[in-house]
Amino acid sequence: MTKRSLHDWMDPWLFLLLTILLGYGLIVLHSAGGPVLVERQTIRILIGLTVMLAIAQIRPERFEQFTPLLFIGSVLLLFAVLFFGITVKGAKRWLDLGISIQPSELCKFTVPMMVSWIFRLTALPPDWKHIFGALSVIILCAGLIYQQPDLGTSILIALSGLFVIYLAGISWRFIFSFSLLAALSSPVIWYFMHDYQKQRVLMFLNPEADPLNRGWNIIQSKIAIGSGGITGKGWQQGSQTQLDFLPEHSTDFILSVLSEEFGFIGILALFILYILIITRCLFIASQAKNTYNRLICGALTLIFFVYITINAGMISGIFPVVGVPLPLVSYGGTSVLTLLASFGIMMSVYTHKKLIQQ
């Protein structure tokens, strides 16, 4: 090993795909939120990319090493939120530590990391003991977040852990029986849901029943998407967006803006970008040198996919409205930063895969 090539410190393919996606997102954001938001978001993206590349230089062994510590830290923070959290709109999600932080965001990393850590040494598929351990981790964190209450994030955190268990090779029989159990227990879940959560589900089932209040967002979003047609109304030409009929068009509903102004072609391009990124990430995961690296990369990729699906499904009226931004496109610092950090982990796995081969 003489000259350090590009591949030694980053994955140029992933980097390219991510920059195209981020650029595409900024173009849409310019139309949805104007130049000021674009400027702010650009700064965040640049910070995010720096963080990503910095993380890429860290040896994956370090993540593995610090996983239990990070996990315990995030669990403690979750408890702290329950006791000392700031109440916003009836939910305690934030913790004021000089700067406000949302510990549930941390769990997006620490839960899949911890589950992967549990499986790192055992033979795969894992045995019951390890699965039980993994489930305990998942239920602990998801349960604490549910208490805030934040059903959406709680489900996402649980999913991120479950993805690790899936990727670890748990038997299909177990997966199917578990899904069946979940389906059967949904009435029970309904019973324990908060009123606002029930309303979201009901509104999702029939948004037109309450067109002026809770259903308004979805109806206007569908109008924006549908009126975009195949080729869209053109950049900054979407009446739904520009005349403010579309709610939260810089954040959760930015995909509606894209649909309205760039049409079905725009959506197709975006989805292809996402598929390429996901494929690349899964490729990195399958090339990783050990179990922990594989599982963490795979799980982060799958959760990335879940974000896309939930957002794209929500704004087109397939899923209930849950506040999930569109990954790497929606305006917002935390989301971009955590996502790029997770891609940093994957790049780290990518750049350090060769060491074992030597």
Binding site: A224, G229, F264, L282
Partner: protein, 610 residues
């Protein structure tokens, strides 16, 4: 298999298998999502495109301005003035109920009005303005303007409202406009009318509604989600209503109205040369301005309860017996059918009897008028002469002769609400009373009594034909080109002349019944009549009508035209319960003609002065 031992190659394969399944699943989900977007963006594109347009593009109606109404000398009778209405958008008005209470004092809203507003609020679509009060007075406008900042969501909006400048005198001609009701709105073209539009309810306003109303325009606005207007464009300008130029002469109209003094009744003056109605009054009139924004219940009840029936348009709806005013037409029929000549005389002993019948038909003058010819029979209004003539004519010839004069026919005067009345005939009686015609009924038909129900406009149309010697110029209120036709039969000029002479004698001969009203300046012809209100008992025949209580007295009629030699004006006067035509109606007719002649021929008086 040793479960605790790691098998790196196997585990990598296991993971790759799982990742591949996941990738396939992911791509499948993306395809499903794409299908969803395809459905929305391609399949349902048109629907959502419309929805998007509906979101931002709003079409507002631009009300057309209602056509003006002028009299024949371009005096403005009906115009549109700016008024203000107070409206509220409930969604923009916090503590609406409290503000409404405050407003009810400021605008002196009644309890009924308040409950009506509350009712409207319940069923009002979101963001649709609700009207609190129409047509605010000047002080109300000022009072609200000062406090407007305290009333978020409330707003005064200007609009045009009808104004009648001579409301009482012109009431029964113009009629009025008022808010369209649900039934009318259903029947009208909803592209032309708004649900809170004004519509002509009576008179000319109703008859010429289509012409006066005009076509609304469209204002297209682009609005954002917060309702802020971003741009507006007149996509279709309104077509304003057309102006009406009436044949009415306001001065003569006013004079005719005033001529009645305390009396009630109707008067019509027409120009027989072209059918133009110069004046048409029904007394009493009423304030038509009251009706535009909705008359209060109490005021309306007062109008309904008034014994003088101000809302009743006597000119077109009042049905009267023509009485002796029918005699000139009877005379003409007799001459035409050669049953009498201008020289024929008859001896009146005061009573007429049909052969072999007991019933006596009386002259108005006890003992009769002696030997009379046609001219004197008209001048003295000799009943016996016309009893005899009517019997000779027979009811069928009477009917067919009177019909072209428009008796008992709609004159098609251009005003809404005309009543047809009745011209007695065998078929009419058969159809309506299911009885045959009796000869005795022909006798009284000769002096305009019996089944006759004739409206003042019909009398005016008939008189116009009589004065112009057979020319039919349809009477009308809005200026139009002359449309002269002629009677279906040809009455010789000599016969016309004889009847004119007889009517002139009524006023100008020594024995004329209206001798008292002859003018020194010009010659006019006339004929009085009495329209019976109640049949008189045998002993009351010669009793003076003036001795009866007013509501039982007969209606007084007078028809007149001037100047005799070349008639320019024909006047019909009905003075209700005026007892005798000559006493009550003739002076009114005289005043109307005087005003007209003064106006048109002042030289007649100048000569006198010389």
């Amino acid at each position: 298999m040793n479960q605790s031992l790691k098998q790196p190659i196997h585990e990598r394969k296991l993971f790759q298998g799982r990742a591949l399944v996941a990738l396939v699943f992911i791509i499948a989900v993306f395809i499903l999502l794409l299908l969803r977007y395809f459905y929305l963006q391609v399949v349902q594109h048109e629907y959502y495109q419309n929805q998007a347009d509906n979101n931002r593009i709003k079409n507002h109606r631009i009300s057309p301005t209602r056509g003006l109404i002028f009299d024949r000398n371009d005096i403005l009778l009906a115009e549109n003035r700016t008024a203000y209405r107070l409206q509220v958008v409930i969604e923009k008005a916090p503590d609406f109920n409290q503000k409404l209470q405050l407003l009810s004092q400021l605008l002196s809203l009644t309890k009924d009005e308040l409950t009506e507003i509350q009712e409207t609020v319940k069923y009002n679509p979101v963001f649709k303005p609700i009207t609190i009060k129409e047509n605010l007075s000047e002080s109300e406008v000022a009072a609200f303007a000062v406090q407007q900042h305290q009333y978020a969501g409330f707003d005064m909006t200007p609009y045009l409202i009808r104004q009648y400048n001579y409301p009482e005198v012109m009431s029964h001609v113009i009629g009025y406009v008022s808010k369209i009701n649900a039934e009318e709105y259903e029947q009208k073209d909803q592209n032309r009318y708004a649900s809170d539009d004004y519509i002509g309810k009576l008179g000319l306003e109703k008859y010429y509604e289509n012409i006066l109303h005009g076509e609304p325009g469209l204002l297209t606005t682009v609005t954002n989600a917060r309702g802020r207007q971003l741009s507006e464009e007149v996509s279709k300008p309104p077509t304003h209503g057309k102006t009406l130029h009436l044949t009415i002469d306001l001065q003569l109209q006013q004079a005719s109205y005033d001529a009645f003094g305390e009396e009630t009744g109707a008067a019509i003056a027409v120009n027989p040369k072209n059918g133009e109605v110069l004046a048409m009054v029904s007394k009493p009139g009423y304030d038509i301005n009251q009706f535009i924004s909705g008359i209060s219940h109490n005021d309306y009840q007062a109008l309904l309860d008034s014994p003088d029936k101000p809302l009743f348009n006597r000119s077109i709806k009042g049905g009267y017996e023509p009485g002796s005013t029918i005699k000139p037409y009877m005379a003409l029929a007799g001459l035409y059918h050669q049953l009498i000549t201008t020289e024929t005389t008859l001896f009146s002993n005061g009573v007429y009897q049909l052969p072999n019948q007991q019933r006596k038909y009386h002259d108005w003058k006890r003992g009769g008028h002696g030997q009379v010819d046609l001219v004197n029979a008209l001048a003295e209004s000799v009943n016996v002469f016309f009893y005899d003539l009517a019997v000779k004519l027979g009811i069928d010839r009477i009917e067919s002769f009177l019909k072209p004069f428009q008796f008992g026919q709609l004159t098609r005067l251009d005003i809404a609400g005309e009543k047809q009345g009745i011209l007695p005939s065998r078929t009419w009686k058969q159809d309506n009373r299911n009885m045959i015609w009796f000869p005795g009924e022909t006798v009284i038909t000769g002096i305009g009594q019996g089944y006759f129900v004739i409206t003042p406009v019909q009398m005016a149309q008939a008189l116009s034909i009589l004065a112009s010697k057979g020319q039919i110029n349809p009477i009308h209120l809005v200026k139009q080109t002359k449309q002269t036709t002629h009677l279906p039969f040809n009455v010789s000029d000599k016969h016309w002349q004889a009847v004119h002479q007889g009517m002139s004698a009524v006023v100008n001969a020594k024995n004329g019944t209206a001798r008292a009203y002859a003018s020194d300046a010009y010659l006019f012809a006339g004929k009085s009549g009495t329209s019976q209100v109640f049949g008189k008992s045998e002993q009351d025949i010669y009793k003076k009508n003036e001795e009866l209580p007013k509501h039982l007295r007969n209606h007084a009629l007078f028809i007149a035209f001037a100047p005799v030699e070349d008639p320019e004006i024909a006047v019909v006067v009905v003075a209700e319960h005026g007892a005798s035509g000559t006493k009550a109606a003739a002076p009114i007719a005289k005043k109307i003609i005087d005003v007209y002649m003064h106006q048109k021929h002042p030289e007649l008086w100048d000569k006198e002065d010389d």
